[in-house]
Symmetry: C2
Subunit: 269 residues, 2 copies
Amino acid sequence: MTHNELIQQIRTKKTFLCIGLDPDLKKIPEHLLQTEDPIFEFNKAIIDATHSHCVAYKPNTAFYEAYGIKGWISLEKTIQYLNINYPNHFTIADAKRGDIGNTSAMYAKAFLETLNFDSITVAPYMGSDSVKPFLSLPNKWVIVLGLTSNEGAFDFQFLNTGNKKLFEEVISTSATWGNENNMMYVVGATKAESLKEIRKIIPNHFLLVPGVGAQGGSLEEVCEYGMNENIGLLINSSRGIIYASSKDDFAQVSQLEASKIHESMKKYC
Amino acid sequence: MTHNELIQQIRTKKTFLCIGLDPDLKKIPEHLLQTEDPIFEFNKAIIDATHSHCVAYKPNTAFYEAYGIKGWISLEKTIQYLNINYPNHFTIADAKRGDIGNTSAMYAKAFLETLNFDSITVAPYMGSDSVKPFLSLPNKWVIVLGLTSNEGAFDFQFLNTGNKKLFEEVISTSATWGNENNMMYVVGATKAESLKEIRKIIPNHFLLVPGVGAQGGSLEEVCEYGMNENIGLLINSSRGIIYASSKDDFAQVSQLEASKIHESMKKYC
């Protein structure tokens, strides 16, 4: 998907919601556990119920790998289902990969070619040759971890490196490896006040913002500090939507939760 | 595997070689491509030929994920083969994972429980809660990226953060989250001179050292600067051993290459 196509989807649907598909067999409704592939059935129901309220879906690979081959099959079925039935939704493999050049190239093949995701999240610690192999495929995206939403972000990301914090250095340096048409950044909603500084460095890039909802971030603050003239935000919610109910009505309730966020986003679009 | 058991293996076999199992269908011998699972057959032949010369095997997950479900099956068969036939070899899932706490816990389950590896490599950027979930399982290990062997390491890892370089800060801070019985560090052989400084911070931890061979690092330098009284090193070689020949004799030639490194290690053990 291109930058313009994504903006178009957001303007048309009046939403910049991304839904995280993080299935956990301990949390999904009991009646699904008897099906052949409970994780895929769960995702399918969530996707069918919520697609009109969001522009992106983000499976986190950890929740699939935890179940070995079965989980990997569920992931493959999920992305295929999205690509066939909802080709206008932007898809994110939340994999946080990154390795030496020839190895990152294998990850790019795995997620952007074999599985055919639109994008993949990448950890920046190993530097340029760990990120660049992901940037060589047309209309595919790298989403670099800039400032993450978790408590551990304070361990290293805020360290002073000369006249910049580490996350600012990571963002400004890595932004030179690509451009706003093939790179985005993860910026946690729980650190919304830092968005102002980040927007000075990368005014035009899309930001993928986790942490609204379950982790305590505020949509209003994120929009105030992070929005640009093309919206420039994908706000992710996972648990708050997909586990809103653990009963038979889970899909219906997820639709309701997604619609509430959709409603609150309309005024910005 | 415990710290003492690993030292015992090294002392008994007089080797601290780790072999990287990074199978690439473009590089493995043609006659294997007709088998049902070429990647597993390749790994099995390499393992059977080299096991007496090494104490550890390290599949890099990228090389399996690139082939989707088939690759994941090959990875599962490879670790099962190692666990059943060579239980005294230390196994490393070179996965470079790391995510927010509840998600890292899923990766720990995936690699240390479901697949039953002894250890997993972890990227440090997201901080403590991204690493700690891997430390809660008995006799399992986290191997944190300290100073990597690639060119991109210079982008961020050498940044000055107060009176320390970033990689020194990462190592000294993260070392407080566990101890030398459940943590190791990746330190690239291509930056051997930094090993002296790193040994001042973590004198007793094992270091996993990639970059000897294909990437240009020197065994002698790594031993001079990085060895401690319990050896404290796992030196990895991947391409130099597993792709030493692309013909029918590949396993035999890999054995020869591994035996050369083994020979050069004996004097240190």
